[in-house]
Structure formats: C-alpha cells, structure tokens
C-alpha cells in the first residue's frame, strides 16, 4: 500500500530526493565536516529555514486544503519552542548550579539545588520560585510530549469553540489573530511564568554536550531536514485519499459536504489540531537553532508572513508551501540582513532593510492577482501540464475556495 502511495504521488519522491541531496551537500560543505564552505551561522539559518518550511506545510494543510485561513499559526510554533526551551534552560542551569555547589563543604540538598536553579532562571523577572507550568521541566520526555500536546490542546479548544459556532472566512482569521496576540501579550507579562519579555535564552547550548556549535548546528540541521521529510510524507499521505477529498470539498463548498453526511466541524477540528502539532514540532526545532525565544516571536505579524509565504509558493500543493517558505525567508534574510546593496537614486537612497517589506507586500499582491498558483505553478509549465480552458471563477462558493486558475491540473 505504501509503495502504491509513492507511485501515485511521484512529487513526494522528487521532494524527498531533493531534500536528501540538499542535506548531504550542506553537510559536506559545513565547518563540522572540514570543507568550511558554509559557515556555522549559515548552517543554522538553513536549518531554521527548514523548520519554517515545515510550519508552511502545516499552514498549507489548513489553508490550502481545508480553506481555513489561520493567521495564528505562530502561536503554536512559539509554544513548541517554549516547551523545548524550558527543558534546555532548566537542564543547563542545573548542570551549572550543581557544578558550582559541588565545591561547597556540605553537599547541597535536592531542594537547595532546585531553589538555586529557580533563582538563576527567574532572577531577571525578580522571582526565584518555579511557576507550576515548569512542573515537568526536568524531564526531557515530558517536555517533548508537551511540544505537540500544548499546541494541539490550544488548537483543539480554540477550534472546538470557533468551528462549532460555524465561524468562517475573515471572521475566523481575525479570531486566530486575536488568539496569537492574546498569547503574546500574556507571555510578555513577567508573572506569566516564562520570563516575560526576556523569554528563554541560551537554547543553542545543549546540556551535557561538549561538542562545538559547528557540530550542534549540523545535528539540528539534520533533525530539521528529517522532520521536514517525515512531515511532508505524512501530510502527503493524509491528503492523498478520501480525507484530502473531503478537506478540499470543505474548502470549496462546505455546505455541500455537510449534505453528504460529513461533519464539517469535526474534520476542521482534526486538521487544525494536527496542523498545530506539526507547527509545534517545527518550533521546537527552530528555537534551539535561533538560541532565544521571546513573546515577540508570536506577534500577529509573524503568522501573516506565513500566509504570504504559502500564497507566494502556491497554496493547495505541498511543495508550493515549502518553496514559498524557503524562497521568501531566505530572500528576506538577504535583504534585511543588510547584505543587499542600497540603491542610490540621487535624491533618495533605497535602503533594503526598510523597503523589503514593501517589496514583499507588493509581490504578494501581484502573485494573488496575476499568478494565483504561485511559484509552484512553474512546475506545471515545466512539466508542460496543460490547464483546461478556465477563466478564474471561484471553484466553490466559500471564501477559501480555490479559483479555477489556481487549481492544480
């Protein structure tokens, strides 16, 4: 069965092959493996980019397939990051504290150790006690479970409330924005228990690992590539059968799906929750590479960018989402990193750091108007796939419906 799935979906094999080749190429060119053609910081950038591709995949599942324009997915991404960050920070601080206390004449008791860790971590927010949400921070296994469980639970509760009341279209998008904004504002508070605006830091240092960042970066790069590969395989499998058909049906005309006897709310809830869990995994791999997570990461704008990536890459096809995220985020790094030369117009100097957002916004509008299939649509040109005579009308009455010119042949 698995074989026939891959045969029926050759794009999955192509994707996995490209990803594998890319991973190998970066590995042999990295500092860790001698060649040194790719700097460690760039390996981290690439690894983070793969994580962004993974959340774009999650976004495409809900938006491109089920027509739910979530503008709050970075809440799930951030929560995944916080969950793994708690363990990383706790464990590393514990090792440091234990080492320094070992010098003392009287060996410290367990509670003394915990108190010392607490004052180390929470000193910045003027506290020394562990808030209850840090209950499992000493267990890697527990925090790994929470990486998927917390975003999943938030998505489930949010989705249950929103979908059950049949909130759709732009109202749902606004609600998701409100969700991520509320979470971000909450986390900004010092007494939220996650160090307020300081966030969690030092996440690039793996507790008990003495290897240099050259190696750590490449391990995380591998892990990100593996997660993206597995995520892609899973997503492709999920949408390849009748489940995918029902999701696309919901996107284009959810009333019709109801009259076929499918509970639209249930399907939306399942895909929204699954997608949030994938986003959580992506975040958990991203932030150890970034080194720091703070509430600004889950500001509403981040989730809007995600929708822009997916739109530019081509929604409704998985590789489109990946291409969009990789392309736009790398180009964005280039422009906002100050590497792009400024353009001197004599009277005015175009500084890309400022103008990049404008350029991105403009590309988004142009893509939406003139190339709704996004960059992924180029694949069709390349494969000489003929689109039937179509005129750009909506394929269904619903807000999320694809347009004729947007649908894959």
């Amino acid at each position: 069965m698995e074989r026939s799935f891959l045969l029926k979906n050759p794009s999955v094999l192509v994707f996995l092959a490209v990803l594998a080749m890319f991973t190998i190429a970066v590995t042999v060119m990295s500092e860790a493996f001698g060649a040194g053609l790719v700097s460690t910081s760039f390996v981290k950038t690439l690894g983070k980019t793969l994580c962004l591709a993974l959340i774009a995949l999650a976004m495409d599942l809900v938006w491109g397939f089920a027509g739910i324009l979530s503008l709050g997915h970075f809440a799930f991404f951030g929560l995944g990051g916080y969950m793994i960050g708690m363990w990383l920070m706790y464990e590393r601080t514990r090792l440091i504290v234990e080492e320094s206390m070992a010098q003392a004449a009287i060996p410290p008791t367990d509670s003394e150790v915990v108190d010392a860790i607490g004052s180390q971590i929470f000193g910045v927010v003027g506290s020394a006690d562990f808030p209850p949400i840090w209950m499992f921070a000493d267990s890697l296994t527990a925090q790994l479970v929470l990486v998927v469980a917390v975003p999943g639970l938030l998505a489930f509760v949010f989705g249950w409330l929103a979908f059950r009341s049949r909130v759709t279209g732009v109202y749902l998008s606004i609600l998701t924005q409100a969700m991520t904004l509320a979470l971000s504002l909450y986390l900004f508070q010092n007494d939220s228990g996650l160090r307020g605006n300081n966030g969690l830091s030092g996440l690039q240092n793996l507790p008990g690992v003495t290897a240099s960042q050259d190696f750590v970066s490449i391990w995380f790069f591998w892990a990100s590539a593996l997660a993206l590969g597995l995520g892609y395989l899973f997503a492709a499998w999920l949408v390849s059968g009748k489940f995918g058909s029902v999701l696309r049906g919901i996107r284009d005309n959810e009333a019709r799906v109801r009259f076929l006897g499918y509970s639209v709310e249930g399907y939306k809830l399942v895909i929204f929750t699954v997608s949030a869990m994938i986003a959580g995994v992506a975040g958990a791999l991203y932030y150890p590479q970034a080194g720091i997570i703070n509430p600004a990461e889950i500001a509403p704008i981040a989730s809007i960018y995600l929708a822009v990536w997916v739109a530019i890459g081509g929604r409704g096809r998985l590789y489109g989402a990946v291409i969009g995220a990789v392309f736009v985020s790398l180009v964005s790094t280039y422009f906002t990193g100050g590497q792009a030369p400024n353009i001197n117009l004599g009277v005015y100097v175009i500084s890309w750091v400022d103008w990049w957002t404008v350029l991105l916004g403009l590309s988004f509008v142009l893509v939406t108007l003139f190339a709704p299939q996004g960059i992924g649509g180029l694949v069709d040109l390349f494969a000489r796939r003929q689109h039937p005579e179509r005129h750009g009308a909506d394929l269904g009455p619903d807000k999320g419906a694809l347009r004729e010119s947007e649908a894959e042949q």
Partner: protein, 246 residues
Amino acid sequence: MSTLLEVSGISVTFDGFRAINNLSFDIGPAELRAIIGPNGAGKTTFMDIVTGKTKPDAGKVLWGEMSRNLVGLNEARIAQEGIGRKFQKPTVFEDQTVQENLLMALKKNRGAFAVIFWRPTGEDLDRVTELAGEIGLANELKRKSGELSHGQKQWLEIGMLLAQEPRLLLVDEPAAGMTPSEREHTTAILVEAAKTRAVVVVEHDMEFIRRLDCRVTVLHEGSVLAEGSLGHVTADQEVIDVYLGR
C-alpha cells in the same frame, strides 16, 4: 401504507415573510412524488427544512420506523440518517475528478478517523465505474468535474446521490439545462431509484412530470394547494389559477 417521512404542520418565517405556512406532507418508503408550484412557493425551503439547513419555527419532521423528529439535528446527521439531496444549481466539487466526487459520496463510515485510513478497494472502484456508466460519465472518471458541461454536472450530482444510497432522495429541478434526451434518461434513473426508496422531485417542466407518472403535490405560498394524480391536480381550478394559467 407506512410512511418514511412525515412532515406535520411546519412553518417558517424569514424577516416577517412566511415562506412555509403550516405545511404537512408525507411519503412512503418506496414512492415517487413530484412537487410543483410557482416560483417562491417554498419548494426549496421545504427541502431546506427536511435536510436541516433551515430550522422551522413550528412543526415536526418525523422520520423512519421510529418516527424520530429530525428538527434540531444538523445537516450531516440528517444526511447520515439516509436523506440525500440534489440542489437546484448543480453543486459538485469542481476541483476534483468525477471519480473523487463519487468516492466521497459512496456510503461508508463518515467519521474523520475512519476516512483518514480508508482507501478504496477494487470493489469500491467497480461500484464507482458502474455508477458512472449509469449517469453516462464512464469515460470522464479521471476528468475534473469543473470541466463537465452543465448537464453532465447535474448527472454527476445525481450519481453522487445514488452512491450515498439514501432512503429518501430530494431532487430539486434535475432537468434544468438538460437536452430532451438527457431529460428522458434522468426520468428513467429517478423512476428506477423510486422502486427501492422514496424520491421527491421538484420540477417546473410539466412534460417531465408527466413522464414520472406519479402522485403530484402542488405547493402555493408555503402550503399544499392540491395533491393527487397529475390529471387530478391539473383539472383543479385553483391550481390552474395560481400556476398553470399564468
């Protein structure tokens, strides 16, 4: 005769306008029934109420041997009870192939988790091919349904309805946009379907109704004006005044 569906005393008001007014209607388990009536008589609204899309202000919709009240159940639950519906405007999933449309409609477990793991067996594919043959789309299985002609979409929707294997089929203006020979074929399919299940057909085309050769209910201003054989209702003076005479 036992009844499959018994609608009793339903009324619905939209912004002060009474679209359905104390309407009662029943149909047996293997019966073909035509509903006619002028535009705005409430024919589509009647179907909306039975299928759960619109909640009536008053009245009951009793279903099956247990006479269960369907009012208040959601659309998906009612569809799972075995009520299938074809819309006035053909609504198929245009971005998907004819085969995908039919597979989605096939009578199977509708639960999300069951569907995730479901893959069509050879038997299911054969059934889909057979259905496609019945609706004249055997050669179009792999085509996107958005590319089909208007009439073909109407048929695909009828095919999806048959694939659902409902106990009651509600069909709103099936012949709209069809050529005369397509209409004849549609009649045959509906008459055949009504041998094993209840079928309610709304249609304006009297020729089409004549060929169905069944009991006719005339709706006017949200209630039943007359009911009986086509000969009986067409001879009714009131029916002539409000509908036929125009």
